[in-house]
Symmetry: C2
């Protein structure tokens, strides 16, 4: 009998070539499946995640699942995995779930956060965990701009030009900026995010914060459906996959 295990996983993306397995590269999936293979006496065990993350992107609440014939309790799984995973991956929780659960297809919504360090001084301790943007910013204008992403829109202007998915309509439930001294944290909850979407939104909102564009540009950009008109892709190190929602109950709506 196999059991399906669901894990909430945090990782520091700094030293990974992203989430997904790539030959010859150190990836989160590769490290995780390596541990599972050892635990299953050399048999391959595939994991499925809620979605990929790019090189340098972090996760506080990535969710993965896998099927296993081993009869360990969730607590034993957590201990065994944490004992063998490298120290830049941590399993925060393990639950047994049923075979209808899928880390990717059962997801109802996701939360991403993006940290920007705005102090004039470079901070060596934050360099892998925040984007550094040492310019005077109009946070009010940024908040106004960020609010305009809420609702259902075609996000063609705010995803990588390489995106192959045809349907670029997504719904953003929550979009806000928390300021704590020189640290700005962008928070987005939505039913789905396209490739580079959060990073392009942040890159564009930072241009608004610098006064290069007015907040109302967001509406025009959404309507234009042209990636070339939006701002630059903000760097990977500020981005965190924060949480994946599998039911509507816990939605911060």
């Amino acid at each position: 009998m196999t059991r399906r295990m669901k894990c909430v996983v945090a990782y520091d993306g700094t030293q990974f070539s992203g989430y997904q397995v790539q030959p010859g590269k150190r990836t989160v999936q590769g490290e995780f499946e390596g541990v599972l293979k050892r635990m299953h006496k050399g048999n391959d065990v595939r994991i499925a995640a809620s979605g990929r993350t790019d090189a340098g992107v972090h996760a506080y609440g990535q969710v993965i699942h896998f099927d296993t014939p081993l009869s360990l309790s969730p607590e034993q799984w957590k201990k065994a995995l944490n004992a063998q995973l490298p120290d830049d991956i941590a399993v925060r929780s393990v639950d047994e779930t049923d075979s209808t659960f899928h880390a990717r297809f059962s997801a109802k919504a996701k939360e991403y956060r993006y940290n920007v360090w705005t102090a004039a001084e470079r901070d060596v301790f934050r360099r892998h965990y925040c984007a550094w943007y040492p310019y005077p910013l109009h946070v009010e204008a940024m908040n106004e701009a960020v609010g305009l992403f809420k609702g259902t829109h075609d996000f063609t202007s705010f995803c990588s030009a390489k995106t192959v998915i045809e349907d670029r309509v997504r719904t953003i439930y929550q979009a806000e900026i928390e300021a704590d001294g020189p640290m700005l944290q962008f928070r987005f909850v939505g039913n789905g995010f396209l490739y580079n979407m959060v990073r392009i939104i942040v890159g564009t909102v930072l241009e608004i914060g610098q006064g290069k564009r007015p907040p109302a540009d967001i509406e025009a950009l959404l309507a234009a459906k042209d990636r070339r008109l939006a701002g630059p892709t903000a760097p990977a190190e500020g981005l965190y996959l924060w949480r994946v929602y599998y039911d509507h109950e816990n939605f911060p709506l």
Copy 2:
């Protein structure tokens, strides 16, 4: 004419084999002197620091000085150094000083801080910046213990057995623990610190926090002058050289 420049320097110690130059190793001094050599057309320029730090130990406020024939302003020095230093070293300030100033010999006191992350869960984002100690702790007992280090004592029990310095009497002006949720920060200001002294003090106080020893043990340990009786050396990643004081004015006494 040469000028003496004083710099306050922060570094993330994670990827350094300590402060001091060692052949074939990446060190803070080595990186810094490499930049100065390029700026001085291949001529060696030595830097002097307030003291060394070990592999993995961080600095928020290390102080160094060097002599230079170049006529850059302090602001120009700061820009030029930060542009060329690797991203795990940052120059926080530069001042021109007179030739009687010496980063090490003019120091009146130093402040060290030590971060302990006490949550049950491993935090991948703090692994290089805090020691992880997931045990229930009696913070009140620890505070009592830490207070007993204040004053002038022979610290033989609290320095590496390899210490060659004969005079192990030092004065601690301030010793306290700041708690912020699961994060404990030890803060020590003293007129000097012996090799591994802060890390052995922290290792011993954590044993007291776990109830393995009573706070009053500190007095007995100080009197015993025997390193073998104190606790273990806490790991490098929690330790920060926080500030170096060159005058009595700014002392937090």
